[in-house]
């Protein structure tokens, strides 16, 4: 099968991969680049587990061909925090508020919420619920995720 050489700027680092045209971005990130923090829960665009930031915008990496984002910037959960082990305000808020259980949906939520709060630093309750309503979580009942989004907004305002 014909392969295509692509370059993705992932979490600020240029990464090369040689992929067939049908390779999903989610598989490319996970299996070609070894960034397994991005998860795949449905592979048909509904659960949001695979959400990453493409040039800053949240996208479903399971609905994106890797070749179609050649040359673009991608942020995955691995790149949300600062250097080393430090957590971003969103990650920190999720820990504080117990906004994760199994953690499988979490990377998708973190990417979604990071973009949400960048665009709307002080969302109302309704805006928060609306903002995360494209991501499924089977564990938390969303109660603490909503809390965590508000808490993250607070931390970012500090």
């Amino acid at each position: 099968m014909r392969r295509h050489d692509i370059t993705l700027v992932v979490n600020g680092v240029a990464r090369q991969a040689s992929v067939p045209a049908r390779r999903l971005l989610s598989d490319c990130l996970r299996h070609d680049l070894g960034l397994t923090g991005t998860h795949v829960g449905c592979e048909h665009g509904v659960c949001g587990c695979c959400t990453v930031l493409l040039d800053g915008q949240p996208v479903r990496s399971c609905l994106t061909f890797a070749v179609s984002v050649d040359g673009h910037e991608i942020t995955t959960v691995e790149g949300l925090g600062g250097d080393g082990d430090s957590l971003s305000p969103v990650q920190q808020a999720f820990a504080e508020c117990h906004a994760l259980q199994c953690g499988f949906c979490t990377p998708g939520f973190l990417c979604t919420v990071t973009a949400l709060l960048r665009d709307n630093p002080a969302p109302t309750d309704e805006e928060v619920v609306e903002g995360i309503s494209g991501n499924l979580c089977r564990c938390t009942g969303y109660q603490n995720i909503v809390k965590a989004v508000h808490r993250a907004a607070e931390l970012m305002a500090e």
Binding site: G81, L87, F104, L136
Partner: protein, 786 residues
């Protein structure tokens, strides 16, 4: 003062890795592994005439193709029937790959191994299976008529039939009691199929090095998977290890084992001498894992003028799908847990467990309880309505009273033990939930309604769990237990228990679960049992370690062990902080050495130790090292309870249901970590809301699952789950040292019952079937209005 962490809202220790993408879920492992894909049956019922794999052989990267014919003797047998029961007279299980006949859409027929999953699926697409299509059996009532058979040798499609009867105090049977009661009602209640649906599907990854097999599985029981693999692949147990890595949710479906893939993938890894991995995709999960909940119930109840139940008879049809690998646990739980917090004069329950050409049924969080609670709570509401009484008052009149514990329901529970409730306070709980929701002050307006439901949940079923605790010479505490974790926060709560018991800072404690290299004996995580079972086992193991530490420290400090305590990882004489010895040093002293590999070790060598020369360095009855292992094996289950109440609003035009308020009062005994318990309840309620209003498995008459994707199987998003208000009551269990009861399933159990109650109140229409969609509610309205 001891380090008191039990009962605190301690932050989760698993979060830092899960928040940064450092979790290790099944598909994150084995980048070098070959990939597996399956050809699965597209038919619900068919005979396999021929399998032609030739078309696939040219696919680049194809490594191997296997069909039933290739399986060696032990693998060619049917998969195990895990939980046999005398009433399960016609249990049937599948073969790892279909033999002759397929009995549901999704049954695995051919296994393909290739260099990656894309190529494996390419090859699957080119394999041709010739089927003779047989008439499928779909729908529980059709199946129960037995005109068509799922298994030729199972007459009437009846896998199991069971009756349990509890006579009234005066010896009368339930039927007699109902017949002679002042009032009787009879009705039918239905619950449809749903499924656990964790966001991570199943998966298996195996490596074989020529003599040892290591298997990773996204399972709720690594120890039992290990034993099943060793038996099926005829390997000595010590040469097999199974590890449950981070698991992305289970909710019951992953307690089933061994799945065909859990045997086939390791087998292929051994044959091929290369690591092999299979990761389930979402469609596979829908059609080849397991479902639950589908049951029909016929209820007859007799009661007096006050609403006190005198006799109850329930006849259940349980749809267990095409196979019964997990036995008949679900209808047994429905039958027994149906009784809830009530004393029912006389009770008769009968169930038939029926085969259909659909995906097999195994427990999903709640495991038969949501159906049982739906029956009992609908019954209470119907009694109240019939007599014109307050629904809460009717319940209260039937409650078991606080001074009646232990209360024997006179039945046999799912663990084969008597159904005896250990403790509880139901009237207080009712008072709390009424207050929380504002029951008495509820302002009834058109298209709004309030509902209530109560349940009792047997948790912490045996037979046992174990814990191992080791203090190393650096003062760290290593805890392991065999059961597995799927997001419950075990690494945190077990560390809280160990830190509290041993008097060490929690930062010093690390916890490993689900790794047979660390702990080989375990049952698994299900039935809200992990905290009760492993929590107590770990506490008991810690107590052994503590006792030994105090003994050794007492020697070193020339003190009485009874005068010593441990705080912040240091053993010292109570009230005299000067005389002390760190636990790390005690660990050094506990292991007499010959070789000094570092400074700490030097202090433990034979020559440094002050041991009397006429005594053996390891005293009789002692073992080297500061470690302990213990098991917790309860005589029977402990019974948690809860009551939920909700206020709903129904749209007068679209018949959409909106939950305005949702209140939960919950009693799981002593709370280890309230934050985690609340999280469990939130998640359970959300699944319950899904099951009550959105989720169902839609099979057509051909046995095709029409909604096998997240597009069509509607799980609630944040927009569908109301804010959940919670309150706790703590009635400790007298059965276990920590006084705890399970909490994992609690949230989901009464949700269909409470929402049916509230919708009925809003609409003035009997709601006897859940889930209920806007379209169904709309039709109910129409048929009422003619």
């Amino acid at each position: 003062m001891t380090t008191q962490l039990f009962g605190e809202r301690v932050r989760r220790r698993e979060d830092p890795r899960l928040l940064t993408g450092q979790g290790r879920y099944l598909d994150d492992l084995g980048r070098d592994a070959l990939a597996v894909a399956f050809v699965r049956s597209p038919h619900a019922h068919a005979r396999i005439r021929d399998i032609d794999v030739s078309g696939a052989l040219d696919v680049e990267g194809l490594v191997a193709v296997y069909t039933y014919e290739d399986l060696p003797e032990r693998l060619a047998e049917p998969l195990p029937l895990l939980i046999p029961h005398p009433a399960l007279t016609h249990g049937r299980t599948a073969h790892p790959l279909a033999k002759d006949v397929v009995r549901h859409v999704g049954e695995p027929v051919v296994m393909v191994v290739a260099e990656d999953r894309y190529l494996a699926e390419d090859a699957c697409g080119l394999i041709e299976v010739d089927y003779e299509v047989l008439k499928p059996v779909v729908g529980i009532e059709e199946a129960a008529q037995g005109a068509q058979l799922v298994h030729e040798d199972v007459p009437g499609n009846v896998g199991a039939h069971m009756v349990q009867e509890v006579p009234a105090a005066d010896g009368r049977s339930a039927r007699e009691a109902i017949e002679t009661a002042p009032h009787t009602l009879a009705f039918r209640l239905d619950i449809e199929r749903s499924a656990s649906m964790p966001l991570e599907g199943r998966g298996v990854y195996a490596r074989w090095d020529g003599s040892d097999l290591r298997v990773y599985s996204s399972t709720q029981t690594s120890t039992s998977v290990r034993m099943a693999i060793a038996a099926k692949l005829e390997l000595p147990l010590p040469h097999v290890e199974v590890i449950a890595p981070d698991v992305g949710g289970g909710f019951g479906v992953k307690i089933m084992h061994p799945w065909p893939e859990e045997i086939l993938v390791p087998w292929a890894a051994m044959l091929l001498g290369r690591p092999v991995k299979w990761t389930e995709d979402r469609r596979e999960h829908f059609v080849s894992s397991a479902h639950e909940r589908g049951q029909v119930h016929y209820v007859r109840v007799g009661f007096d003028d006050e609403g006190r139940v005198q006799g109850l008879e329930v006849t259940i049809l349980h749809d267990h799908g095409a196979y019964t690998p997990y036995g008949i646990i679900v209808p047994i739980i429905t039958s027994t847990q149906l009784l809830g917090p009530y004393r029912i004069g006389a009770y008769r329950v009968e169930f038939s467990s029926i085969y259909t050409n659909t995906v097999q049924v195994t427990p999903y969080r709640g495991a038969g309880r949501p159906q049982g609670v739906f029956c009992m709570e609908r019954t209470m509401d119907k009694i109240a309505q019939y007599l014109g009484l307050d629904r809460a008052a009717v319940r209260e009149r039937n409650f078991i009273q606080p001074d009646e514990f232990p209360y024997d329901q006179g039945m046999i529970f799912q663990d084969g033990r008597p159904l005896i409730y250990d403790s509880g306070n139901y009237p207080e709980m009712l008072r709390m939930v009424k207050e929380l929701i504002g029951w008495d002050s509820f302002d009834k307006r058109p298209h709004t309604g309030i509902g209530l439901a109560c349940y009792v949940e047997g948790t912490g079923v045996g037979p046992y769990e174990g814990g191992h605790v080791q203090v190393t010479s650096d003062g760290r505490v290593h805890v392991s237990t065999g059961l597995t974790s799927q997001g419950q926060g075990h690494e945190t709560v077990f560390a809280q228990i160990a830190a509290t018991e041993l008097g060490v800072p929690i930062e010093k404690v690390s916890v490993v679960t689900g790794d047979t290299r660390r702990f080989g004996y375990a049952v698994g995580t299900f039935a809200s049992r992990a905290a009760v079972m492993s929590g107590n086992a770990i506490a008991l193991a810690c107590r052994k370690v503590r006792e030994k530490a105090l003994r050794i420290a007492a020697d070193a400090l020339e003190a009485d062990p009874g005068d010593l305590e441990i705080t912040e990882g240091v053993v010292h004489v109570k009230g005299a902080p000067g005389a002390s010895i760190p636990l790390a040093t005690v660990a050094v002293l506990a292991n007499p050495l010959r070789y000094a590999f570092d400074e700490e070790a030097r202090r433990a060598t034979q020559f440094a130790s002050a041991a009397a020369p006429d005594r053996p360095p390891v005293a009789e009855g002692e073992e080297p090292g500061l470690e302990g292992r213990d098991y917790y094996s309860p005589v029977r289950s402990t019974f948690a309870a809860g009551m939920h109440a909700a206020i709903v609003e129904t749209d007068p035009d679209t018949a959409e249901v909106r939950i305005l308020r949702y209140a939960v009062v919950h009693d799981c005994g002593r709370l280890i970590n309230p934050m985690i318990v609340e999280g469990q309840i939130h998640g359970g309620v959300a699944q319950g809301v899904g099951g009550a209003l959105y989720e169902r498995m839609v099979y057509d008459s051909h046995g095709q699952l029409l909604n096998a994707s997240f597009m069509d199987f509607l799980m609630p998003y944040a927009t569908e789950v109301p804010r959940i208000e919670t309150a706790h009551l703590e009635t400790p269990s007298p059965l276990n040292p920590l006084g705890i009861k399970g909490a994992g399933e609690a949230g989901v159990i009464p949700v269909s019952a409470v929402l049916a109650s509230a919708i009925e109140d809003a609409e003035g229409l009997p709601i006897d079937r859940m889930p209920i969609s806007p379209a169904e509610l709309y039709h109910l309205r129409q048929s009422r209005d003619g």
